[in-house]
Symmetry: C2
Subunit: 74 residues, 2 copies
């Protein structure tokens, strides 16, 4: 069974940002899909599908590692 | 003797964009240095230092290849 969760993320501006955050999140264990709805200069929505639920801390850390910030849930 | 020329470039938003355009321009023959003054969402200034003058067409094409547009000289 898969779990899908969405996160509000700030700081993303372009396709390179989408690629960077997708790469970082895809590297997390169990992650099967990452979808980014880019809103340049505002709050983008990142949706992660994984084989088991991810803790918020793990997602927050991966997003931070890519250079962006989780500000909550959309 | 080296030549330095600056170009106004639109479409750049973040550090990834700076890296992409720097990589593309550095690959041109004779280019010794690329400096980008990033102005996210507006007109950035890209300065290229090369061993011999580059034609505008060559620079325009490299910038276009990176996904941005030369709009003139600053």
């Amino acid at each position: 069974m898969t779990t899908t969760a969405s996160y509000s993320v700030t700081g993303m501006t372009c396709g390179h940002c989408v690629a960077a955050i997708t790469e970082e999140l895809t590297a997390l264990p169990g992650v099967e899909n990452v979808h980014v709805q880019l809103v340049p200069g505002a709050v983008s929505v990142v949706t992660v599908t994984s084989g088991a639920p991810l803790t918020d801390d793990v997602v927050r850390e991966a997003v931070d590692e890519a250079g962006y910030e989780v500000t909550g849930r959309p």
